[in-house]
């Protein structure tokens, strides 16, 4: 399959305008959903498609929607997670900049399914162009009757608001995002209650990633079987892969879920830069564990990557070549998590501070012989003991770097310098 579904509009001139979107068949899925399906049928359809959330965790979308209570005396909310802070990830930005109507249509159908009349798109504040395009697209959609009251004559009212983030990675964690939307400092909440029951303003709330939502119109148009026919049955669909780092053709690729990582890197993205060799690849943003070159035959889907101790995450594929020091990469990743720790729990806040200190001294050639053991001990103290997945991801990533590239860490300690300098 090399048909582009999710990215079909991104290279169309003025593809962000409603005229271009409609010309390509846009908003027909919304019309079909409203005319031919009840909300429950849409939930069933999405369940049957086996769509799993593209924000990182891979939770089944239809199941998440079905947790929203049918009878509720409070308004329900849909929140689109467009915070996209996971280093190595840029897919949601490109969708919002070049095809914002696809997202609006996805939100409208999803809101109809769960019974929400209001959606907030939480977009990271740096994405100025995406925010402008989304706001323009929302205005266009209102003018054309795809948003507003009695949409396309149906008994369905729906409005979308854009909420700008202000620079904090933790806002991408769904419950921290809700706190941020409520005007508080972003810190993860205790679960339960789950957002589907008590989320934004303690109302039933569904949070979905941009890419998850843009899959929905295509499932309505083409059917659940079509979607499930692409890639592995338990983790299917067209997928956006963000390829960056030391590779010839960095960029956004739409390919089936489950393609081999090696094919993605070597064939689609052109392989290593001139005269260099791929040493390792991070497959799902820096929260995902690094995979050494020998493991690149793994397939890019939720289950296959989990089976090798990594994860699909945000599908931010970062290619690292043989000129790069893995200690440096690991140190930079820990520095990121340390910087972005929200400070709510001690293992993450204090543990990462220590880990970063030890890594910095190893990188500088001042590591002690037992530093690797120290790092292992610190990871053990963090993993499984943190309030949210940020701390776990940091510890898991470092463990993988140590497991696959311990010799590089040891070399720094023994030679008292970085062997790559």
């Amino acid at each position: 399959m090399s048909e582009r579904v999710l990215l079909r509009n991104v290279d169309v001139p003025d593809g962000h305008l409603i005229s271009a979107y409609e010309a390509g068949g846009g908003y027909r899925a919304l019309a079909k959903a409203l005319r031919e399906h009840t909300p429950d049928e849409i939930i069933e359809l999405v369940k049957n498609s086996n769509l799993r959330g593209r924000g990182g965790a891979g939770f089944p979308t239809g199941m998440k929607w079905s947790f929203v209570p049918k009878q509720a005396n409070k308004p329900k909310y849909l929140c689109c997670n467009a915070d996209e802070g996971e280093p190595g990830t840029f897919k949601d930005r490109i969708i919002m900049e070049r095809d914002p109507h696809q997202l609006i249509e996805g939100m409208a159908i999803s809101a109809y399914a769960i019974g929400a009349e209001t959606a907030y798109v939480y977009v990271r504040g740096e994405y100025v162009l995406a925010i402008r395009r989304l706001e323009q697209a929302i205005a266009e959609a209102h003018a054309k009757g795809y948003l507003g009251t009695r949409i396309l004559g149906a008994d369905f009212n729906f409005t979308v608001h854009v909420h700008c983030g202000a620079g904090a990675y933790i806002c991408g964690e769904e419950t921290a995002m809700l706190d941020s939307l409520e005007g508080k400092r972003a810190q993860p909440r205790l679960k339960p209650p789950f957002p589907a029951v008590a989320g934004l303003y303690a109302s039933p709330t569904v949070i979905n990633n941009v890419e998850t939502l843009v899959c929905v119109p295509h499932i309505v148009s083409r059917g659940a079987d079509w979607f499930r026919g692409i890639g592995p049955d338990k983790s299917p669909g067209p997928k956006l892969y963000c390829v960056s780092g030391q590779v010839r053709r960095p960029g956004l690729y739409e390919l089936p879920m489950g393609i081999p990582l090696r094919e993605l890197v070597d064939e689609h993205a052109g392989g290593a830069l001139q005269g260099r060799k791929v040493k390792a690849v991070i497959p799902g943003g820096v929260s995902a564990s690094v995979i050494p070159e020998s493991g690149l035959d793994v397939r890019m889907d939720f289950d296959s990557l989990a089976a090798v101790g990594s994860m699909l995450g945000s599908a931010g594929v970062i290619v690292i070549d043989d000129t790069t020091c893995m200690v440096k990469v690991a140190t930079r990743i820990v520095e990121f998590f340390h910087h972005e720790s929200c400070g709510k729990c001690t293992p993450c806040r204090e543990g990462l501070n220590w880990v970063f200190k030890v890594l910095r001294r190893i990188e500088a050639g001042q590591g002690a012989p037992d530093d690797i053991e120290q790092l292992q001990g610190l990871c053990k103290g963090i993993f499984g003991n943190t309030f949210c997945a940020l701390g776990d991801g940091a510890a898991m990533g470092l463990r993988a770097a140590l497991a696959h590239f311990e010799h590089e860490f040891t070399a720094h300690i023994e030679e008292h310098r970085c062997p790559f300098h």
Partner: protein
């Protein structure tokens, strides 16, 4: 629309005015360049929310500046994908050319230099955000051209940071 009207319009999008603190701070920062105490108090007053809530957010989120920044805020990404494509050398180059370190502002108030976490544009690494704009696929030559361009755009306009009242 003045700042007050813009903040009111933002508040109308939420059932609770506290939710409008973030949008209001962004509006105020656009207006004043940064967010000194009196501006934070004005935001709290317009929204009718606790001042402490406003202070809390202004200091929690990295895009809010409680101190003045240069007319052009050079925000170079040095996260992994940009690091792998040479961001470090670009930082060293800018530090040398501008005569300031990371976090510093040039004495003419034109440039503030910072490093930032991933900008979500790694396909064009190394990347730098200046104001609203992303500049990608950077190398030393492109940086020099960009700085020249900004210097020219900046002259003729008052050079001091656009501080509040």
């Amino acid at each position: 629309m003045g700042m007050r009207e813009k903040i009111e319009a933002a508040a109308g999008r939420y059932p609770d005015r506290r939710s409008a603190i973030m949008p209001a701070l962004l509006i105020a920062q656009k207006e004043h360049g940064h967010l000194p105490g009196p501006v934070l108090e004005e935001v709290a007053d317009v929204l009718g929310v606790e001042r402490i809530w406003v202070y809390e957010l202004a200091t929690f989120y990295t895009l809010f500046h409680t101190e003045p920044v240069g007319m052009f805020h050079l925000q170079l990404c040095d996260n992994v994908s940009c690091m792998l494509r040479g961001a470090e050398a670009l930082l060293a180059h800018m530090e040398a050319v501008l005569g300031i370190g990371k976090g510093g502002t040039t004495s003419d108030g034109l440039f503030t230099l910072s490093t930032v976490e991933c900008l979500g544009a790694c396909e064009m690494a190394p990347v730098m955000q200046v104001g609203d704009d992303y500049h990608g696929d950077l190398d030393v030559a492109r940086i020099d051209t960009l700085l020249d361009h900004l210097r020219r755009a900046g002259s003729g306009v008052p050079l001091a940071p656009r501080a509040g009242a």
